[in-house]
Symmetry: C2
Subunit: 212 residues, 2 copies
DNA sequence: AATTGCAAAAATTTTGAAATTTCCTTGCCT
DNA sequence: AGGCAAGGAAATTTCAAAATTTTTGCAATT
């Protein structure tokens, strides 16, 4: 089974984000090498790049480890995400034009569609992949007109880490849960479209505070 | 001339931050290898880690390049630094105790001492190294009680990038310049010590806005 | 004169193994 | 029994060369 480097990266990132590789677990290039059918050094390269994203911890002479998941870190990631998203949204509301509004509306429409399906269905699991993608797109679109590449990049990294920290956390995905989520996303959209900076700030906080 | 990996990292970081390696310049492992007396792969490793910090750009199959310096990026880095420092200082003012106040006062005292010397002297160049270190310590201490490892780490990275963007920019380092800097640092310290969040936010902005 | 195609050169990535460091087990001494 | 040291196993880092990819230079065509 021959795999190319970008695929190794993608596969490891997915396993990291779905907790198929569990927090704290040691990542040995010499072991993964066999699985991917490449040399240990290639795996090492990929892991170094994953440590840039923050999914993996690296310590010199001590190798790699799946980033640990603690209540402290979850809170830290969440607070940082809130900071970046509030600022990104604020700037987007100041800079964004109709194009931004259109893209945001579109992203929200798709997200809403999936969330409605989930709210009606029994089992959330089969929707999780699609929902994740739609959620990410909505939030990234929200900050997309902030005019700061650094903010957008950093947000992308922290979002990925957020997912890593939250997955594996057993939560009550009852229909209540998704009804709340739907309302929260709606509140963010509404505030953004009328450029109400304070309302949007609050809506973002209310959406994410459950993870603090 | 045999050099260990951490020293290669440190040396490259210094050259990157002092513009001895100029923005946009290509970084070829096969060339640096000769200079450091190690293999190309070792250099590659170091460069991958420097790209995590943001000093170096990496693109698959295209190698490494010193991060470009443009007015846009300078502004972006500066705005992001302002965001992080304002939030870090705000949280520190809420969480920090006397210990924090003491460390901040100490850091400011050292910084002030060097800045006074510079303001009296003709040539700033010989002081630049010491001043850089003292400035970094002051700003890092300011946010040190924020309680967010992620914020502190990210600030560290962005500070380094800030230096990289600003060095090489010809500026008027007349005595006026350092008199302003002294006043600005003092304003930040004063606001922080009396926990005046708004004043501190403004003082940080006023200190950094010249780079926008 | 500009553009496309091809071949040579240069640079990057990958490899497999050697060298080094860390980690763990075992045995010795207090 | 507890702690420390030495030895061996495992893991990480480094190396030099091979394989791959990109870039460059030159000629042929439009």
């Amino acid at each position: 089974m021959r795999v190319e480097t970008p695929e190794i990266f993608a596969d490891l990132q997915r396993k990291l984000m779905t907790a198929e590789l569990q927090p704290g677990e040691k990542l040995k290039p010499s072991e993964l090498q066999g699985f991917y059918g490449c040399s240990a050094n290639t795996v090492r390269d990929v892991l170094l790049r994953l440590s840039k994203v923050g999914l993996v911890e690296f310590e010199m002479q001590r190798g790699f480890r799946v980033r640990a998941s603690t209540p402290e870190r979850r809170g830290d990631v969440t607070r940082f995400r809130i900071l970046l998203e509030q600022e990104g949204a604020r700037l987007s509301m100041l800079n964004g034009g109709v194009g931004w509004e259109a893209r945001l509306t579109a992203a929200h429409h798709k997200l809403r569609h999936i969330e409605s399906q989930i709210a009606r269905s029994e089992d959330v699991v089969p929707f999780m992949g699609l929902w994740s993608d739609a959620e990410l797109e909505f939030h990234e679109t929200l900050i997309s007109s902030c005019g700061s590449p650094i903010l957008r990049e950093t947000y992308g990294d922290i979002y990925v880490q957020f997912r890593q920290q939250m997955v594996g956390l057993e939560r009550d995905f009852g229909s209540n849960y998704f009804h709340s989520i739907i309302a929260e996303h709606q509140a963010i959209l509404d505030a953004a479209l009328v450029r109400d900076i304070e309302a949007c700030r609050t809506a973002i906080y209310d959406h994410l505070k459950r993870n603090l």
